[in-house]
């Protein structure tokens, strides 16, 4: 038994938020992408409710274009921790004619996820969706609340947000509204990596340097496979790469890297001169790309 427990303030805050979600909402769900941020959330949720089980299910909106390593990892984690996992597929939304597949050079299913997510929220009557978004990721997210109220259409009204004072969270909502909850709002990318290293949390292999078939476009490194549109002139090469964020293969660029251990990754992040979302192809569409997507209910 150790003597005096001194908290890590960011971890303590996140646990506080997760307990507020469990206490204030009837049907919360944790949005799980298989990326490092949602994996960190799972660990924090374990800590928040131990020795009880995590009192909410995980929801994965599967675009069908995920890295296979991520899906394998997801299934393994769920099995180990005895968690409840719900999967909803973007392919189903396409088949039902609710959304149309993008075509051409920059085609991605990233924006199509929103419809599938909103349908799942309606199907399960979720009133709170816990997500791993961080304010340091992107400038529109810098203004996001910890409890962010969305209307029936999942829309974010950035000019009419509830002020959040001290650590008092107001999750009161009307029928039809739901709240997006962001327990690691105040973490930086480096905080997440240092935490993963200290806690020795398992993460998908694509976060570490590996050999991969890639091609170069617009100064970014794209995965070469059947889901990613490629011109004949764009030549495939094998490179040592890793991923800093894990989204769809169609919207996540790799970085050249030799980092094969968590120590290497942390060292690399410290020295990095490119921001994490700098490798997100979806954000490069315009200066306000993220804000526009958030307004229509994107996570």
């Amino acid at each position: 038994m150790s003597n005096l427990f001194i908290p890590n303030p960011k971890e303590a805050e996140s646990i506080h938020i997760l307990r507020e979600v469990a206490a204030q909402f009837e049907r919360p769900v944790l949005l799980f992408s298989g990326g490092k941020d949602s994996i960190t959330l799972v660990r924090l949720a374990q800590k928040a409710f131990f020795p009880a089980k995590i009192p909410f299910p995980l929801l994965h909106v599967d675009t069908g274009h995920n890295f296979p390593e991520t899906i394998e990892f997801r299934d393994q984690l769920v099995k180990e921790l005895g968690l409840e996992l719900i999967v909803r597929n973007v392919q189903d939304s396409i088949d039902q004619g609710k959304v149309r597949e993008e075509r051409g050079r920059y085609a991605s299913r990233n924006t199509l996820q929103t419809t599938t997510l909103l349908d799942a929220i309606e199907e399960f009557k979720f009133d709170a969706c816990i997500g791993g978004a961080r304010r340091d990721e992107e400038k529109a997210r810098a203004k996001e609340r910890v409890f962010s109220v969305r209307d029936d259409f999942g829309q974010w009204d950035e000019k009419n947000q509830r002020p959040e004072l001290f650590d008092m969270l107001n999750g009161k909502i009307h029928v039809g509204q739901n709240v997006r909850c962001f327990p690691i709002s105040n973490w930086t990318e480096l905080d997440v990596w240092e935490y993963i290293r200290t806690e020795n949390i398992a993460i998908p292999s694509i976060y570490f340097a590996h050999k991969r078939e890639v091609f170069f476009r617009d100064g970014m490194i794209w995965t070469a496979n059947e889901h990613v549109y490629r011109e004949q002139s764009e030549l495939v090469e094998e490179k040592m790469v890793r991923f800093r964020t894990v989204g769809d293969m169609t919207c996540t660029a790799a970085v050249l890297s030799e980092a094969v251990t968590l120590d290497d990754v942390v060292a690399e992040i410290r020295l990095s001169t490119i921001s994490e979302r700098g490798a997100r192809i979806d954000d490069k569409r315009s200066e306000a790309a993220m804000e526009t997507r958030k307004k229509v209910g994107y996570f």
Binding site: F5, A142, D191
Partner: protein, 419 residues
């Protein structure tokens, strides 16, 4: 301390339009290598598009489209950076008259306030307001950054005049423990922000960053009396933990240890702490701001919203309270109005009995008022449906503040500070 042993300093910034607040933050980010190449490139592109011949760092922080178009900041943005020794979180709050609520919001989670003053304009009405709010929220460390020194010829006289005017304000404050530091800077040129200026040899103090790094994050006034509001009762009902009944929550103030004699409020039932858990470890004692799970030696009634305190250090329990209110919503607070009062995590119903006064935020006293509108600050008396268990905000920020939630819209409409 974070897991790497870095301390966490939370800063609220306040300034009027065009004081260069965003530029100052952009400069801090740039000089601490916190801006990545792609962000700097984006700033260069945008600066060029707008026809500037310098890098407009405000573009790094003004996040929303409306703000970039109007060139102003309209909501609190959170910005993160770190040095080897310290993690910083900056709540960048807008300086418009109509956005007092944003500074109150940003300041509520901060332990340092940076108040910007344009050296050409000196102490203006907005400065009064910003200092008033940092006082109201009992921010222990105030940094007065006198910016645009390059535009007044780096004049020591200008600096001294502003310091003199500000000291006159400080004399009117009733919060004597706060530490106030004046730093002359040029955010645009990067002088005295992270690097000493060659143009102001008369200034012998620290640069802004050096000053922020030597501050202690602990709130000077946070009391050492522990308060443990129960957030969520943990009952695993598994074989290994069949009879486990743990009370989870965040501990505020001081520490709690196994064996402490405690009282559960509101029931008043007494017990002792049997065990303290953090995840799978059992600990003997937990320090302030730990998110822990506590078990008690006896079966007592205890659920969400209750508070566990040391039996010899009970808070006040009352059904009728007076508080200083800041209105943070368009809907005015009126006599007879009913609200949900959220004190920490506990909710009761509250009715406005009387509005005692509206307080002038320029330190010129109070006036009578029959309502408090958005951005108004006033003294209000409430009657509550049940007693709350509180301390004075002056000795315990966590147990002396509350929010009011509108019963119709469920919006957060006010924040209150109990004296």
């Amino acid at each position: 301390m974070d897991i790497q042993g870095r301390k966490l300093i939370k800063i609220a910034t306040a300034g009027s339009v065009d004081d260069g607040k965003s530029t100052l933050i952009g400069r801090l980010l740039y000089d601490t290598n916190s801006l990545t190449t792609d962000k700097i490139e984006a700033i260069e592109r945008s600066s060029k598009q707008r026809g500037y011949d310098y890098l407009d760092f405000s573009l790094a922080t003004d996040g929303l489209v409306a703000e970039r178009e109007q060139g102003i900041t309209i909501d609190v943005a959170h910005i993160y950076f770190n040095t080897d020794k310290t993690n910083f979180i900056v709540a960048d709050t807008p300086g418009h008259v109509e956005y007092t609520r944003n500074m109150v919001t940003g300041a509520s989670t901060s332990n340092v306030a940076i108040i910007l003053i344009d050296a050409r304009k000196g102490v203006i009405e907005q400065t009064y307001r910003h200092f008033f709010i940092s006082n109201l929220l009992r921010i222990s460390h105030v940094v007065v950054a006198i910016n645009k020194m390059d535009l007044v010829g780096y004049s020591e006289d200008v600096y001294l005049k502003i310091k003199h005017d500000f000291d006159a304000l400080v004399a009117k404050s009733n919060f004597k423990e706060e530490q106030i530091t004046f730093i002359p800077v040029s955010a645009l040129k990067g002088e005295n922000v992270t690097r000493k200026s060659d143009h102001m040899p008369w200034y012998v103090g620290n640069t802004l960053l050096d000053h922020l790094e030597v501050l202690e994050p602990a709130d000077l006034l946070e009391s050492s009396v522990p308060r443990f509001p129960v957030q969520y009762v943990i009952r695993p009902k598994t074989e290994a933990y069949h009879d486990f009944r743990g009370f989870s929550g965040m501990l505020y103030g001081g520490s709690l240890k196994v064996g402490d004699a405690v009282t559960v409020l509101p029931s008043g039932n007494e017990s002792t702490i049997k065990s303290i858990h953090f995840f799978d470890q059992e600990v003997q004692e937990a320090a302030t701001e730990s998110s822990i799970v506590i078990t008690l030696a006896t079966e007592v009634d205890c659920s969400r919203g209750d508070m566990i305190v040391k039996s010899d250090q009970l808070p006040k329990s009352e059904k009728s309270i007076s508080a200083t209110i800041c209105q943070v919503n368009n809907k005015a607070l009126k006599v007879g109005g009913k609200y949900i009062l959220q004190h920490g995590i506990n909710r009761v119903l509250a009715k406005v009995d009387q509005i005692e006064s509206r307080i002038h935020t320029d330190f010129t006293g109070t006036e009578e008022a029959d309502q408090l509108k958005l951005n108004d600050i006033g003294r209000v008396h409430f009657r509550l449906s049940k007693p709350i268990h509180f301390d004075s905000y002056h000795t315990s920020k966590s147990n002396g503040a509350f929010i009011l939630i509108d019963e119709g819209s469920y919006d957060t409409v006010s924040v209150g500070f109990i004296e």
